[in-house]
């Protein structure tokens, strides 16, 4: 009865919608395959669905795949969502909504394999969906799980793609797919060759997938597309387990196994005729074991010699999964060319990293260089001024929530705060210790301990955030290999600005002139009416103020803690010492050298940054042997003192 009603309803529906075929009808034709799909049977359904060209198809496929299609007792399919004990039903063709108790429906639960097949079919619709975001999603899903079946629809959708960016992406993806799944070897080789200039991670993975190998072992050289024959004599220990696994050789006899066998065969104080007390050496144990083996109480002893001999009797090889050698050859050639390009790009990336590290060191050290160069004063509290600047930035952000504005306030404020601190320190302490550099070093160290602990008491021991504005988030991506975060670019720009500013102040202003005069000959400068006290105070303030700004910059990408200063102080000193005292260019050279070198050493030994720092310092100690006065050495009679 019900069935008849439905049949009528269906007929009416079809009458209203003209003579177009209805989805439900097609589904009913394959009702069994739809209700209980298997990977094989579902493709028939899908073919018909795709062939129908009905607009409802993609929605249905999505819902089906998402387990949102239910079948009524009478076999009719609905899109439905559970709502308590009821189901909210939606007609597959008209979209009309109704509600019914759940008990009379059965949910369709296609398994994972089926869902993947459905997904592939769905992608074809999505690839030409009018909605751009859906098309993009489809492309992303293909890229994530490339499949031979997607190649044709993807290629077909390229021509009508209106969005130029997406069109390019589709073309690229189609190329990747052709390389792996193209119909003729010629197509594939052409696609592979076109990849030889593409350094993206994706292209490299395509090539690597073509070149995947299976390793194996056999008595003679194997059939197939041979990648390489391995030489087992280099490391018999590593190859022997392969033989064991392939069932070609008995398992190794480890010392633990020997021990277990011996323990199991103790016979009245002896094992295999050897007294227990003598079994404290390996040779005695071998002897006992060999005796047991002769009696058949233990498997034969596999010694190192037998192992090496057995390994030598077999061929260890790697076979390409891909059978056509022309294709693997092309892929190998393309990969080699890509890798060469990647290496070049990595060098460029490393150089960028080095540059940004150098800018940080420059910012951290330039203040120190000024005070050290002009006044001969080593300021051990310089690191704490950096910290003070970073905390200033943090406090400003507590009051000014807008990150852009807060950074713009924090930079001058940090300068002001640390300038003030520097001037105070100069007035109260350093002024009394001129010409006693070692004492100055220690007194400023005392200040450094006190400031660090003070910061700990005020701000606590955990790291405080100094958040950068949105426009500094992210990175400038030049390729998959070369990229640099905007913060580091900003720090680089800041370093450049400071370099220019300091050069301007020192070379072009009255203050700079006086500073240089005091540096060269304080006595003469004083007699010319320059007040060295004032110059020293200002210089020290300037050096400290720059440390404050460096603190804000460093705080943006590193954590703000009370100990952050001490992490930079030794590197800063190194920068100044390596660069040459009292010279802005020297500091720049020192910072560049240390920055690039550190990155270089890290690159050689990427797993271990501690070792990199150790080698770095050792290098600096040696460097000082050859250029005790630094890269840009002071010249003339002043240098002789």
């Amino acid at each position: 009865m019900r069935r008849i009603l439905i049949a009528i309803a269906l007929c009416c529906g079809s009458a209203f919608s003209g003579h177009a075929q209805e989805l439900q009808q097609i589904l009913q034709v394959h009702a069994d395959e739809v209700a209980k799909p298997s990977r094989r049977s579902v493709s028939v359904v899908l073919e018909d669905l795709v062939a129908s060209g009905l607009p409802q198809v993609p929605v249905f496929l999505e819902k089906w795949s998402a387990k949102n299609v239910w079948q009524r007792e009478d076999g009719v399919f609905f899109i439905a969502t559970a709502d308590g004990d009821d189901l909210k039903l939606q007609d597959i063709d008209t979209g009309g909504e109704t509600s019914a108790p759940k008990s009379t429906f059965k949910q369709l639960k296609p398994n994972g394999g089926v869902r993947r097949v459905i997904g592939t079919a769905l992608v074809q619709f999505q690839l030409s969906d009018p909605d751009l975001t859906r098309r993009e999603a489809a492309v992303i899903s293909i890229a994530r799980r490339p499949d031979a079946a997607q190649l044709a629809p993807l290629v077909a959708s390229i021509e009508d793609e209106p969005d130029p960016a997406l069109k390019a992406r589709k073309t690229q993806l189609a190329n990747f797919l052709t390389a792996r799944f193209g119909e003729t070897p010629q197509d594939r080789i052409a696609a592979i060759e076109s990849l030889s200039t593409d350094t993206s991670v994706e292209a490299r993975s395509v090539l690597n997938q073509i070149l995947t190998v299976k390793s194996g072992v056999s008595a003679s050289e194997p059939e197939g597309n041979l990648a390489r024959i391995l030489d087992p004599s280099q490391a018999p220990d590593a190859f022997y387990p392969q033989l064991v696994e392939a069932g070609l050789a008995p398992a190794e006899t480890t010392p633990a196994m020997i021990r277990a066998v011996l323990e199991a065969n103790i016979d009245g104080g002896t094992v295999g005729g050897v007294p227990l007390a003598q079994l404290n050496s390996e040779t005695a144990r071998y002897r006992a074991y060999a005796a047991l083996a002769r009696e058949g109480l233990a498997p034969p002893l596999v010694t190192e010699d037998t192992r090496e001999y057995t390994v030598g009797a077999y061929v260890f090889y790697e076979l390409y999964d891909e059978e056509d050698p022309a294709i693997t050859d092309a892929a190998a050639t393309a990969l080699a060319s890509v890798e060469q390009r990647v290496a070049i790009a990595q060098t460029a990336d490393l150089a960028l990293d080095g540059l940004s590290l150098a800018s940080i060191y420059f910012l951290a050290a330039i203040g120190l260089a000024i005070t050290f160069g002009v006044m001969g004063v080593i300021n051990m509290a310089h690191g704490e001024f950096i910290m003070m600047g970073a905390y200033t930035g943090y406090v400003v952000q507590l009051f000014v929530p807008d990150y852009t504005i807060s950074i713009l306030i924090a930079l001058p404020l940090a300068f002001a705060v640390t300038f003030g601190a520097g001037v105070t320190m100069e007035r109260l302490v350093i002024r009394h210790l001129y010409h006693r550099p070692l004492e100055t070093l220690l007194a400023t160290f005392g200040i450094s301990i006190a400031l660090q602990q003070l910061a700990k008491n005020i701000f606590g021991t955990q790291a405080r955030p100094l958040t950068s504005p949105d426009w500094l988030d992210g990175a400038w991506v030049m390729s998959d290999v070369i990229q640099i975060s905007y913060i580091r670019i900003a720090i680089f720009v800041l370093a450049l600005i400071f370099l220019a500013l300091i050069l301007f102040v020192l070379k072009r202003t009255r203050l700079g002139l006086e500073v240089r005069a005091v540096t060269q000959n304080p006595g003469m400068a004083a007699s010319m009416g320059i007040n060295p006290d004032r110059i020293n105070m200002l210089t020290f303030g300037l050096g400290s103020g720059i440390a404050g700004i460096a603190g804000v910059a460093i705080g943006l990408y590193a954590k703000v803690t009370s100990e952050m200063g001490s992490e930079y102080i030794v590197q800063s000193f190194m920068t100044v010492v390596v660069g040459g005292v009292g010279n802005v260019w020297g500091t720049l050279a020192g910072a560049s050298m240390i920055g690039f070198l550190q990155k270089g050493i890290e690159w050689l030994n990427p797993s271990n940054t501690l070792a990199a720092q150790t080698y770095m310092i050792l290098f600096i100690i040696l460097f000082i042997q050859f250029r005790p006065k630094g890269i840009v050495a002071p010249k003339g009679r002043a240098a002789a003192d």
Binding site: V429, L442, I449, V570, L610
Partner: protein, 388 residues
Amino acid sequence: MNKSFIAQNPSVLWFLAALGLFTLAVTLLSEATGVGLISTSFVKTLGKTLCLCLIAIAMDVVWGYCGILSLGHFAFFGIGGYAVGMWLMYARTEGIVLESLSGQVIPPTPQEISDAIGNQIFGVVGSSDFPLIWAFADNLFLQLAMVVLIPGLLALVFGWLAFRSRVTGVYLSILTQAMTLALSLYLFQNDSGLRGNNGLSGLQNIPGFEATPQATISIVFFLVSALALGLGYVFFAWVISGKMGSVVKGIRDNEARVRFLGYHVESYKLFIFTITAIISGIAGALYYPQAGIINPGEIAPITSIYLAVWVAIGGRGRLYGAVIGAAFVSLLSSWFTGGGAPDINLGFYTIQWTDWWLVLLGLSFVAVTLFFPKGIGGLFDYLVRKPS
């Protein structure tokens, strides 16, 4: 000669007398004699303090007398500690391993023993193989030789490089600090072969003396430390008296002048740098069995700077000043940071010394540098000069 050396330096006699009395008093009042007025842990603290005094006089010789502000002597101290710690740890682990293996029916092979010891010691850094530097760890005498040899050689090589290229003053200080930093960073790595940041532990257990109570062990180490301090004091007093002292102080005051007098200044600096490094290593070798644990943090550059702080507060250029400074500041430090000092309630804020001690120390250090460059030892001048 010896007579005139002591006669020239009456302070040596005074110091030895004071040290003797102090040692006697502590020994009599310790738990080892049954009196127990001084706890074992405090005896250990005092013993450690004596070792710190020993490295402090070494620092005073190299800085106060020779003018080299080394920020690296704690590295030598640490190396001494590591050298002796390797033997302590190896021998103790070997004892434990042998005992646990002795229950088995089949006696263990040397390889099995070595593997088990390696597993015990290096399991914590995910390894079980003995690194090359442990080659002599099973031999106490060779390892004790390392206490002297490694700091000595390191100082010799580093000093030769640095002094040869005429690195002086603050440059040299920074360079020594870099050396210390490099060493501590190296030791922080897990594959340094010295258990990374775990360091060596359990050093208070002396192999072969498992049955001896810690009270006795602590007093023995205390006495040995006192003896080492006494000998070190006399040795350094002898070195810096007479003509050697003249030259060394001359280098401190005017290096170029000494050079033009025909002295090869670099050799003298190297000599002083190396012997003080060796004494520092010995001090460390005595310190860490009392501390029980050594890790790379002990070698961090900051500790060497504290050493300079002690010597400066005690008074540079006089050996007893260094002893006073090291003892005074390090004991005060452990009193304040150990929560021994009462908090001060200001009503609106409570000063907790664990938080504020470092601020106080830092500022008082500035004050000493500014106002009392002669340190606490300077007070003695005042006392001695007043009656005359």
